[in-house]
Symmetry: C2
Subunit: 203 residues, 2 copies
């Protein structure tokens, strides 16, 4: 089951042992926080020796970076795939919110590490992730701007509006659990309605 | 300066040494996370001995609880003070969002500990805080329900709407910093406009 889960979370990461370590790291960070977790804890949780961990990741920070970078690349990819499609700004924004919210709900444990442990990244890695975040935010801002342009949206401040849209999605990772009784997809749809209204579109 | 800050954050906590320890705990938790922080770290950051810490707090968990409980009581108090005032549901919701958002922006470091370290609370303390959170959410839901009743708001699902309103405010603690170039008060006003629209009110 763990193998399947890690393949679903990180389809682009090879070999399987590296994915297994990333999953063990996510679970350890989620439980105790990044700083209180050792590489020994992570290796142990993955059923591996510390030496075997270092074959794949030179440090705990490298593991955090792999998780963070992959999470940001995945969310950027889902935003880009919507932006590149044909569609009105309104349709695009609906799809972005649906996908972004569902991603944060479905992978809420991974997403918490991705969103809340940024400060623990070393400077160069932090810069890489910050660049990915900026690209996500710029796409959202551009779609909102296009909607203002064509008369679908009315917003006071573009930057605040884009930040609020993403903020609603990110915070899903904090509160979502399977006990909420709502699928990630259903939540994404409800949030898309809320966001479109927030931007002054009639739903 | 630290004395002034801690008095502003926790006006109801006495003596000053207890507030100083709470401030040192917030700073240590924010830097390294709860689990990687020791009572020795906190005492040191407050310029006190570990023995002096135990005079005021029996454990690190007691410190976290004091910070968490106070934060939740403060936000509940600001919601209650709005609810008890005269006003339309629309006016009340605007005030709640303005105050709740400004609180999370102004005290973003404290608010991060309050909002993101809940899982580290012992069971009984967690139950106390959960009850405070439920009361906050119920007030917001009641105000939205009253607005639906009097025709000011249109929402699909009351529970989702209330959660989204609070979620936007909570997430401010994650991303807000003094570099944002917007005062907590100004951000609160902008967010109140966004939220009112999200609930189907004309701004």
């Amino acid at each position: 089951m763990t193998t399947t889960l890690s393949a679903e979370l990180w389809p682009d990461v090879q070999p399987e042992a590296a994915r297994r370590l990333m999953l063990a790291a996510v679970e350890s960070f989620a439980e105790r926080g990044y700083h209180a977790t050792t590489t020994r804890d992570i290796a142990g949780a993955a059923g591996m020796s510390p030496a075997a961990l270092y074959v794949h990741f030179p440090s705990k920070a490298a593991l955090l970076f792999a998780i963070s970078q992959s999470g940001h690349e995945q969310t950027l990819a889902l935003v880009e795939s919507v932006v590149e499609r044909d569609g009105t700004p309104r349709e695009k924004l609906r799809s972005i919110v649906e996908d972004f919210v569902a991603w944060h709900a479905r992978r809420h444990t991974v997403a918490r590490v991705v969103q809340y442990e940024l400060q623990a990244l070393p400077a160069n890695e932090y810069a890489v992730v910050t660049d990915l975040r900026r690209r996500i935010e710029n796409h959202v801002r551009d779609v909102i701007a296009a909607g203002v342009e064509d008369g679908s949206f009315t917003v006071g401040d573009l930057r605040t509006a884009a930040r609020a849209v993403l903020s609603l999605g990110v915070d899903v990772a904090r509160w979502y659990s399977d006990r909420v009784g709502k699928t990630p997809k259903a939540l994404g749809r409800e949030y898309a309605d809320l966001v479109l209204r927030m931007l002054g579109a009639t739903v």
